[in-house]
C-alpha cells in the first residue's frame, strides 16, 4: 500500500513537471490589433473618385506584419495614415510586429499556421525571402498585376531591383528604392586616436597599425571588443570582392570591382584566403578582439557604448547614430567616423535588402498592392510612416528635409520598419542646425561615397534558388560554428590544418554540388541578361 502511494505521488509530481514545462512554452505573444479601425467616422468615403470603383467598393482591413519593435506613438501615427488610406482606397491597415528576437522562429509559423494576413516585411537572406519563396509562402507579382494596382511603384522601382527580386522567373516582393551602401564604416574613439598620435585614419593598414598600438598600450579597452568572424568583410572590400547573393556564409565570391569578371570564387580555394587567416591569427594574438568573442552576446554597438571597445564597424548611418549616442554620454570620448577603404569605389546594396511581400493566402491581394503603392509613393503617407506627425514629431524644412523636435523620440526617425518602402525620390534628409564634428564627418563621407559608386556588375542582380540543394545547405550551416567562425576570427592554433579540416567537412557536406548549382544558375542568369 505504502509503495503504491509513493508511486502515485511520484507520478503526480511528474505530471506537474510536465504541465509546468507546458506553462513555460505557452505564452503566445500575439500582438493585439494595432490601430483602431473601428471608430472611423462615416465622413471618409468618396473623395478621390476611386472609391466608386468596383475594386474598392467593399471596405477592407489589411493585416500587415512588420519586423522590430513599434515605438510609443505608432498607433496614433497609423490612425492618421488610415484616415488617408480609407479615403483613397477604402482600406485600413492593421500592423503587428514580430520582434527582433522572435522573428527568426515566428516568421515561418505565420505561413505554416495559416494566419490570415495580407502584407509582410521581407528581405533577402536575413529577412527570410528565399526561404519563404522556396516553401511557397508569397504571392507571385506579375508585371501586369503591378502595373494595374501599383502603377506609381512601377514608375519608381528601377528594373535592376525587380531583377534582383526574381527567383525562378517570378517576382515575390516589392523591393525598396534607396541607395544604401554595403560598405561598412568605423566609429572610432577620437580621444584614443589623439593619444596615439592620429589626427585622421585613412585606410585599412593605418587602422590596423593604430589597433596594434592600442592593444599594446591600453588595458580594459580593446580595439574591436567582441566580434565574431574577424574582419572578413573589410578584407573583401579591400580586395574588391563581394559575396555572391544567396551564398551559404561567405563561401562563394565574385569580383565586384571588375564588371567583366563573372567567375565564381570558392572561398577555400581563393588565393587570398590563407593570407587572410594568418592575418587574423596575428590580429587575434595581438589582442585586437577579446578572447570571449565567440561566447559573448554583445550587439555590435555594446562595446563602444560601454567603453570596452575603441571602435565599432557598421553601416555609415548606424555608425553616426551610435557615435552620437556615445558622445552624448561621454563628451570627452569624441567618437568620430572613419572610412577605412577610401580609395575603393563603393557598392550600393541590393535593393532587396528590404521590401514588402503579399501573402499567397491573402484575400485582398489587389487592395494590399494598392496600399503598398500609397506607402511607397504618396508623399503624405510616406512622411507619416517615416517621421511621424508633422509639427509633433518633426518639422518640415522645405519639401525634402526635416528637423527634429523634442518629441521626435516618441515615434523615431525611420524607426518602425518603414524602410521596407524606402523611396529616395521622396525620402527627406535631416537638417541639423548645429552639426557636431561627427555629423560633419558623416556628411563628408556620405558625399564622397555618393560621388564614387562603382559600376553595376552583372552578378549584382543574381538570386539563388536553393530548392535543389537544401540538404547540403543544412549540413553546411551545421558546420559553420565549429569549423568556420573560429578560423575567420583567427582563433585556431594551426591555420593550414584548420583550413584543411574545414575543407574536408564542407566537401563531405556536399559543397561541390552547391558550387555546381551556383555555376549553372549564374550561367543562366548571365545568358538571360545578354
Amino acid at each position: 500500500m505504502k509503495r503504491a502511494l509513493s508511486l502515485l505521488v511520484a507520478l503526480a509530481m511528474f505530471a506537474m513537471t510536465l504541465s509546468a514545462c507546458a506553462g513555460n512554452q505557452s505564452s503566445p505573444t500575439t500582438q493585439p490589433a494595432a490601430p483602431a479601425a473601428t471608430e472611423k467616422p462615416e465622413s471618409a468615403p468618396a473623395d478621390s473618385g476611386n472609391s466608386g470603383n468596383s475594386e474598392t467598393a467593399d471596405p477592407v482591413v489589411l493585416k500587415m506584419y512588420l519586423l522590430g519593435e513599434k515605438s510609443k506613438d505608432f498607433d496614433a501615427v497609423y490612425d492618421k495614415i488610415n484616415e488617408i488610406m480609407k479615403a483613397k482606397i477604402n482600406a485600413t491597415v492593421e500592423a503587428s510586429f514580430l520582434s527582433w528576437a522572435e522573428h527568426d522562429t515566428k516568421y515561418s509559423l505565420l505561413f505554416s499556421g495559416n494566419e490570415d494576413f495580407d502584407l509582410i516585411f521581407t528581405a533577402a537572406t536575413w529577412g527570410h525571402y528565399e526561404t519563404t519563396v522556396a516553401l511557397g509562402g508569397f504571392y507571385p507579382l506579375s508585371f501586369d498585376f503591378i502595373k494595374q494596382y501599383a502603377p506609381d511603384i512601377y514608375e519608381v522601382v528601377p528594373p535592376v531591383a525587380w531583377d534582383q527580386a526574381e527567383i525562378g522567373g517570378s517576382i515575390y516582393m516589392v523591393p525598396q528604392y534607396n541607395n544604401e551602401f554595403t560598405n561598412d564604416a568605423y566609429a572610432v574613439r577620437g580621444d584614443l586616436m589623439e593619444k596615439y598620435g592620429y589626427s585622421t585614419i585613412s585606410g585599412f593598414d593605418q587602422l590596423t597599425e593604430f589597433f596594434s598600438k592600442l592593444a599594446a598600450g591600453e588595458s580594459g579597452v580593446s580595439p574591436r571588443g567582441n566580434i565574431q568572424g574577424g574582419m572578413i568583410y573589410e578584407y573583401f572590400q579591400k580586395e574588391g570582392y563581394s559575396t555572391l547573393p544567396g551564398t551559404p556564409k561567405e563561401f562563394f565570391l565574385y569580383k565586384s570591382m571588375d564588371v567583366s569578371d563573372t567567375s565564381i570564387n570558392y572561398l577555400l580555394e581563393w588565393d587570398k584566403f590563407e593570407e587572410y587567416c594568418y592575418l587574423m591569427k596575428d590580429f587575434y594574438e595581438q589582442g585586437f578582439w577579446s578572447k570571449d568573442s565567440l561566447a559573448s552576446m554583445d550587439q555590435r554597438q555594446d562595446g563602444l557604448l560601454r567603453g570596452t571597445s575603441a571602435t565599432m564597424a557598421w553601416n555609415l548611418g548606424s555608425c553616426k547614430t551610435y557615435a552620437t549616442e556615445a558622445n552624448l554620454a561621454h563628451p570627452d570620448w569624441n567618437v568620430t567616423l572613419v572610412d577605412i577603404i577610401p580609395d575603393i569605389p563603393k557598392q550600393v546594396s541590393s535593393y532587396i535588402n528590404n521590401g514588402m511581400a503579399i501573402n499567397a493566402n491573402s484575400k485582398n491581394k489587389e487592395r494590399a498592392m494598392m496600399a503598398l503603392n500609397l506607402f511607397y509613393t504618396d508623399k503624405e503617407i510616406h512622411d507619416l510612416a517615416f517621421y511621424g506627425i508633422e509639427g509633433v514629431h518633426w518639422k518640415a524644412i522645405g519639401d525634402d528635409a526635416y528637423s527634429t523636435t523634442d518629441r521626435t523620440g516618441d515615434y523615431g526617425i525611420s524607426a518602425n520598419c518603414n524602410w521596407a518602402w524606402n523611396n529616395m525620390n521622396i525620402n527627406r534628409d535631416e537638417y541639423i542646425e548645429n552639426p557636431t564634428p561627427a555629423d560633419i564627418k558623416f556628411q563628408e563621407i556620405l558625399d564622397s561615397w555618393n560621388g564614387n559608386i562603382r559600376g553595376e556588375h552583372p552578378l549584382d542582380g543574381f538570386s539563388f534558388d536553393k530548392a535543389s540543394v537544401t540538404n547540403e545547405l543544412a549540413l553546411i550551416d551545421s558546420l559553420v560554428a565549429q569549423y568556420y567562425t573560429p578560423l575567420l576570427s583567427g582563433m585556431v592554433d594551426d591555420v593550414p590544418k584548420a583550413i584543411a579540416e574545414l575543407k574536408k567537412q564542407v566537401e563531405n557536406a556536399g559543397i561541390q554540388k552547391v558550387h555546381d548549382e551556383f555555376k549553372a544558375q549564374v550561367a543562366a542568369h548571365i545568358a538571360a541578361q545578354s
Binding site: 505521488v9 515561418s108 543544412a474
Partner: protein, 304 residues
C-alpha cells in the same frame, strides 16, 4: 452495462480528477502523433502537413550524412547519463538531509534557497555563467589572477564543459527534484522508524536500512522516466550556455542543438520532424529495454 455505470458513478470524483490529465495527454501527446508523416514529406506552405508531396527517406539523409550523427548522439546520451546519475544522487541526499535536520527555520530556508534556481530561466543562467567564466571580466578569472594563477579560457576550451554543464544542471534541478524524494520519505510508515529505534539503530543504520530501501521504488520510476528522454538533449541549457561558440561544439553538441543550427536558416519542417522521429524511436526502444530489465529484477518496480 449496468454494472459499468454503477462503477462509473461510484468513482466519479476520481474520474473527474483524472480527466484533465487524460485530456492533456490526448491533446498534446496523442493527437499530434499524426504529424509524424511530416518526416516523410517535402513540406510546402500551400500543401501543409498532409497535402505536401511524399519525400521518402530523403529528410533523414542530412542527419546521417553529416558525419556528426554519431558524435552528437554520443554526447546526448553521455550528458544525460551523467545528469541522471548526478541528479538522482544529489536529490536523494538533499531529501534525506532535509528530513534528518532539526532546526525548523533552517530547514525551510535551506529548502527554499535550493528551490529558487529552478525558477531562473536558462537565458539568465547563461548570463550568470558568462559573468563568472568570461576571460576578460569573469569573476573566476579575476580571482585566479589575484591569487597569482594564470587565467583559464573557459570559452575556448571544450574540456571544462562537461563539468561546468553538470554543475549548472545539478544546481538548477536539485531543489525541485528533492521534493519528489521528500514526498516518498514522508510516505514511509513511522512505525518502521520506531521499531528501528527500539532495536537500537543509529542515524546511519536508519538511513541505509530503512529510508533508502523504502525510497527505491520512487527512485526506479523516476530513473525509468528520465531514461525515456535519454536521446533528447536539454536544448534550453545547451543552447543558452554554449550557443554558437563552435570551439566548444565537439564537447557540447547534442542532437537538438545540432538540428537547430542546421535548420534554423532554411526552415525545413520535414527534416526537423525526421530528426525528432529518430530521437523518439530511440527513446522508445531504450525505455522498453530498461523497463524489461527492471521487470526481470523485481516486477513491482517496473512501469508497466
Amino acid at each position: 452495462m449496468n454494472k459499468f455505470l454503477r462503477k462509473l458513478n461510484k468513482n466519479k470524483i476520481f474520474l473527474i480528477m483524472l480527466a484533465p490529465a487524460v485530456v492533456y495527454a490526448l491533446l498534446f501527446s496523442y493527437l499530434p502523433m499524426a504529424g509524424i508523416v511530416l518526416a516523410f514529406k517535402k513540406y510546402t506552405y500551400a500543401g501543409g502537413i498532409f497535402g505536401s508531396a511524399w519525400n521518402g527517406l530523403k529528410n533523414f539523409e542530412f542527419f546521417f550524412r553529416s558525419g556528426k550523427a554519431l558524435l552528437v548522439s554520443k554526447n546526448t546520451v553521455l550528458y544525460n547519463l551523467a545528469f541522471i546519475i548526478l541528479n538522482t544522487l544529489t536529490q536523494m541526499t538533499v531529501a534525506i538531509l532535509l528530513v534528518e535536520l532539526n532546526g525548523k527555520y533552517f530547514k525551510k530556508i535551506a529548502q527554499s534557497l535550493m528551490f529558487l534556481p529552478y525558477f531562473i530561466s536558462w537565458v539568465i543562467v547563461s548570463v550568470i555563467a558568462f559573468n563568472m567564466l568570461s576571460n576578460d571580466f569573469g569573476f573566476v578569472n579575476s580571482f585566479l589572477v589575484s591569487m597569482g594563477f594564470e587565467k583559464i579560457s573557459f570559452y575556448n576550451n571544450g574540456k571544462y564543459w562537461p563539468v561546468i554543464l553538470s554543475i549548472f544542471n545539478v544546481w538548477k534541478s536539485v531543489g525541485y527534484g528533492s521534493v519528489l524524494y521528500l514526498a516518498a520519505i514522508m510516505g514511509i510508515d513511522t512505525e518502521v522508524y520506531d521499531a528501528a529505534a527500539i532495536d537500537g539503530a543509529n542515524v546511519f543504520q536508519r538511513i541505509f536500512r530503512v529510508t533508502i530501501p523504502q525510497m527505491a521504488p520512487t527512485m526506479v520510476i523516476l530513473l525509468l522516466l528520465s531514461i525515456g528522454g535519454i536521446f533528447r538533449g536539454n536544448f534550453d541549457m545547451f543552447y543558452n550556455l554554449v550557443g554558437n561558440n563552435g570551439i566548444l561544439h565537439p564537447a557540447t553538441d547534442v542532437i537538438d542543438t545540432f538540428t537547430f543550427r542546421a535548420l534554423i536558416t532554411n526552415n525545413d519542417f520535414g527534416m526537423s520532424a525526421a530528426v525528432g522521429l529518430f530521437q523518439s524511436v530511440l527513446c522508445f526502444v531504450t525505455v522498453l529495454v530498461a523497463n524489461k530489465l527492471v521487470n526481470n529484477y523485481d516486477p513491482d518496480y517496473s512501469l508497466f
